[in-house]
């Protein structure tokens, strides 16, 4: 078995982790599909009930599995996704209010607060910096 002899320490460890933690293909596929659903529907009114209906899974089970395989809860993932998209919208020049609703937040207050927590800046500060940066690039 020359292939096995050539295996590095790292590959051996990876195989071990794969066998001990990631052997349930069906479970993993369900969780990957859940993430993909969030990726393509993040602007909608998503919650655990909707996500569990999509995959016909109990919501508590889904919550636990998502956290187990991605390291964060579906809610945390959804918020990160919305903030990531809102940065793209703000960079393109969309207004803060429009951005807030376009990425699925229902209140401007909670959007601004979350945005500041995640990026260290308010949405309007972030947008101003992007504009001044692109002006610097062209004028300086």
């Amino acid at each position: 078995m020359p292939h096995l002899l050539e295996m590095t320490f790292y590959q051996e460890k990876i195989n071990h982790i794969k066998a001990s933690c990631y052997s349930n293909d069906q479970q993993i596929q369900t969780i990957i599909e859940t993430r993909q659903f969030i990726d393509t529907n993040f602007e909608k009114d998503l919650n655990l009930n909707v996500l569990s209906d999509v995959n016909s899974t109990s919501k508590y089970h889904l919550h636990r599995l998502f956290k187990r395989y991605y390291g964060l809860t579906p809610r945390q993932y959804l918020i990160d996704k919305r903030i990531e998209q809102s940065k793209k919208n703000l960079k393109k020049g969309m207004s803060v209010t429009e951005t807030c609703f376009a990425v699925g937040f229902e209140s401007l207050g909670s959007f601004s607060k979350l945005f500041k927590t995640k990026t260290g800046k308010s949405p309007s500060q972030f947008q101003k910096e992007q504009v001044s940066r692109s002006e610097l690039d062209t004028n300086f």
């Binding site: 590959q11 990876i14 969780i31 991605y70």
Partner: protein, 131 residues
């Protein structure tokens, strides 16, 4: 406190600079002399230029334990660090064409796909795609 920098030990800064910019596609953020032919070189991702900087650190040439540690990681096939990519398969194909040597071909594990290549500067580097 903020995380703004990660450092990678390299044996030859100029060679590393070429590999990380020309093959991997990073761009130079800072390049300042440090004396003795050493430089403070940091790189960033072109699509995230205000993100964390990657420091090409010549530590193995000046501090023997760093060299020993780096050699041990290399021999065991353990990546020194990892970078996120949109598609491991596409990066793998692109880098293969640039003669980059992979020790782990694209492999799925749970909710990620990854591959490991040699940066020719003393390190294994892992690229990862979230599935």
């Amino acid at each position: 406190m903020k995380v703004t920098l990660i450092s990678i030990p390299v044996r030859d800064q100029e060679k590393a600079l070429k590999f990380y910019t020309e093959k991997l596609g990073f761009i130079i953020k800072k390049d300042a002399p440090l004396g003795g032919g050493n430089r403070w070189i940091t790189l960033v991702s072109p699509e995230w230029q205000d993100g964390p900087e990657l420091l090409l650190e010549p530590a193995p040439n000046h501090f023997e334990p760093c060299k020993v540690f780096q050699d041990a990681l290399m021999e065991a096939g353990i990546p020194y660090t990892q970078f996120d990519v949109d598609s491991v398969d596409e990066e793998y194909d692109r880098l293969l064409k640039l003669d980059v040597d992979f020790s782990v071909q694209p492999t799925e594990m749970g909710t990620v796909k990854f591959a490991v290549f040699n940066d020719t500067c003393g390190n294994n580097i892992q690229i990862v795609e979230t599935l």
